[in-house]
């Protein structure tokens, strides 16, 4: 589950001057022809570096994203919800597995990536630093956060790096289950008893602004990513993904009789764009920098999981017939 609010390092065109210009031209021509880049192909350092960073942030967002919904696994109401939620959170872990593998093909080991995550050197999606107070929060995430992730991931599956695209295609198929599952859960609450309805409305109120932030800061204040877009590393801009999501889901939220906590929200029929109250981008910065309501807990949980699993990994490594790590193929 990732909405595309990636954090890229500042890119300087100077970095490209050091590259072999002939190879660079062939690389760019390949991308222009719509062909994928595969792991053993020549690629500019900047491309490799930014892809690793992006795929890694995406992978981290999956394992951290498993936590707020995981909060409700043992309390999911009834068989259908329990089975669905277990499968859904399992998928998130599976997505992390696929994405870490894709990043590994670029030369960074999974252990290094996890090390960077648990020690706070890597970023992941901000939205998972907010708490899931009730069952309805979990339903909101399953439906609407996943919906946002799908907009970004479908776009990125048309990107230029083969292994990342293949992982995303698989992920998107699974996300279509998440979306339906989430919508089903929200529908039952929104059309249920007054208390269920209120529970859903309150969750929506809590998550609305973090959700808008999920896609990253507005384009006009974001880091310049032209070169990443030219190389099809990033496909849609933050504003584009946000607009697509609003277009697809605001009507569906309204259809359930729920209200959105923004009286300025409306679609401008002339521009075709949604107008809305901007979320607090200062809060966004604060959360990115570790000061959100759950940042500390999320990392503390991953550290615990890491520590609890350490003896297991050490023990099975002894059983490995060939201990040499080889970069996976795709």
């Amino acid at each position: 589950m990732y909405g595309g609010g990636y954090l890229f390092e500042k890119t300087s065109p100077d970095l490209l001057k050091e590259e072999d210009q002939e190879k660079l031209a062939a690389f760019e021509a390949r991308i222009d022809r719509g062909e994928k880049i595969e792991p053993h192909d020549w690629m500019p350092k900047l491309y490799r570096q930014q892809l690793i960073r992006m795929i890694e942030q995406h992978a981290h967002s999956e394992i951290i994203g498993a936590l707020p919904e995981g909060t409700w696994i043992t309390r999911a109401p009834g068989f259908k919800r329990k089975l669905g939620l277990m499968a859904k959170v399992q998928d998130e872990v599976g997505h992390a597995q696929l994405l870490y593998s894709a990043a590994e093909t670029l030369g960074k080991s999974r252990e290094q990536m996890i090390d960077d995550l648990i020690n706070g050197r890597s970023k992941y999606s901000n939205i998972f630093n907010y708490p899931a107070y009730t069952w309805a929060d979990s339903c909101f995430i399953s439906w609407l956060v996943d919906a946002g992730a799908i907009v970004n991931q479908v776009a990125n599956s048309k990107g230029s790096y083969g292994p990342y695209c293949r992982a995303l295609e698989r992920i998107c198929i699974e996300e279509s289950f998440h979306l339906k599952f989430g919508h089903h859960c929200v529908t039952y609450l929104a059309t249920g008893t007054p208390r269920q309805r209120q529970m859903m409305q309150e969750a929506l109120n809590r998550w609305w602004y973090p959700m808008l932030m999920f896609f990253g800061p507005p384009d006009k204040i974001s880091a310049h990513t032209e070169i990443l877009m030219r190389w099809k590393v990033k496909i849609l801009s933050n504003d584009e993904t946000r607009q697509q999501w609003l277009d697809m889901y605001v009507p569906k939220i309204w259809e359930l009789g729920l209200t959105i906590p923004d009286d300025k929200l409306r679609k401008n029929e002339e521009t075709g764009k949604w107008e809305f109250t901007q979320p607090d981008w200062e809060e966004f910065k604060q959360v990115i920098n570790g000061n959100g309501p759950c940042n500390k807990e999320r990392l503390a949980v991953r550290r615990m999981a890491e520590k609890r699993g350490e003896w297991v990994r050490r023990a099975i490594l002894v059983k490995a017939s060939n201990k040499k790590y080889v970069t996976p193929l795709a």
Binding site: G70, P77, F79, G94, V312, R313
Partner: protein, 251 residues
């Protein structure tokens, strides 16, 4: 057909699967490595799915619907073995419990594939395939961890020692044991335990772990009759927290 005996059999099986599945679900997202997290999560889903199928058989026999039966009975009305309700502790105990439980489960379903009660026979036949994966998974873990670093062997040994008396509790005889056997509904706990002991000895024999003499282990019984440890009620409260918060609502 002896319905009382049959229901008792179905309840204890369904409750075992539900509570095991629930305990396994506590690991989702927190496993020792990503790949195992995924495998463990599937086992949790399978067990809960199997319990649902068994509760549906009970519903056909006139019991309440599966959600009501699973999420609103108090501990004293649950017939799972105490083994399944114990907390997960660390991966050593969790995987050891899976190994001991899954092996019993696999052979129980295999025996029930010949049950004279046809709906149960069908459910048993249907699930033996997926439970085959569960024992493949558990056996591999026991073989690797049980013959590895000193730390792992020590941990697995202590998990085995702790688990065995409870594992034997899975075979607590039912008051209707003879009726089940005579009617061909089920071959009985003793027959199952004999097969189970052989299989457990076979796998443990391939590791550095030591199995005590079977007769020296005192089984922990009680679960089948509704006498549980202090761990079950809090677990049931947690499972039912949301669904019971608004009676009559659909979730």
């Amino acid at each position: 057909m002896n319905t009382t005996a049959l229901k008792e059999l179905l309840y204890k099986m369904a409750d075992d699967q539900l509570i095991m599945g629930h305990r396994s679900s506590e690991w989702i997202g927190l496993g020792p490595l990503l790949e195992e997290d995924i495998a463990f999560a599937s086992k949790a889903q399978d067990k809960v799915g199997q319990s649902l199928a068994l509760y549906q058989l009970l519903e056909e026999l006139g019991e309440a619907d599966p959600d009501t039966v699973a999420f609103s009975r108090p501990a004293a009305k649950f017939h799972n073995s105490i083994f399944t309700e114990l907390p997960n502790e660390e991966f050593d105990f969790s995987i050891m419990r899976h190994f001991l439980f899954d092996t019993a489960e696999y052979y129980r379903f295999e025996l029930l594939s010949d049950s004279t009660y046809e709906p149960l026979q069908q459910v048993a036949r249907k699930f033996t395939g997926e439970i085959r994966y569960h024992i493949l998974h558990a056996n591999e873990w026991i073989k690797e961890l049980g013959d590895s670093t000193e730390e792992a062997i020590a941990r697995m040994q202590s998990a085995l020692d702790k688990a065995l008396p409870y594992a034997l509790g899975v075979f607590e005889p039912s008051p209707y044991e003879q009726k089940l056997i005579d009617s061909g509904l089920f071959a009985g706990e003793q027959a199952l335990q004999n097969i189970w002991q052989d299989k457990i000895s076979e796998i443990i024999g391939q590791t550095a772990l030591r199995l005590p003499a079977w007769e020296s282990i005192e089984p922990v019984y009680g679960g089948r009759a509704g006498h549980h440890s202090e761990h079950l009620q809090p677990l049931l409260d947690e499972m039912g927290q949301v669904i019971n918060s608004e009676p009559g609502a659909e979730w």
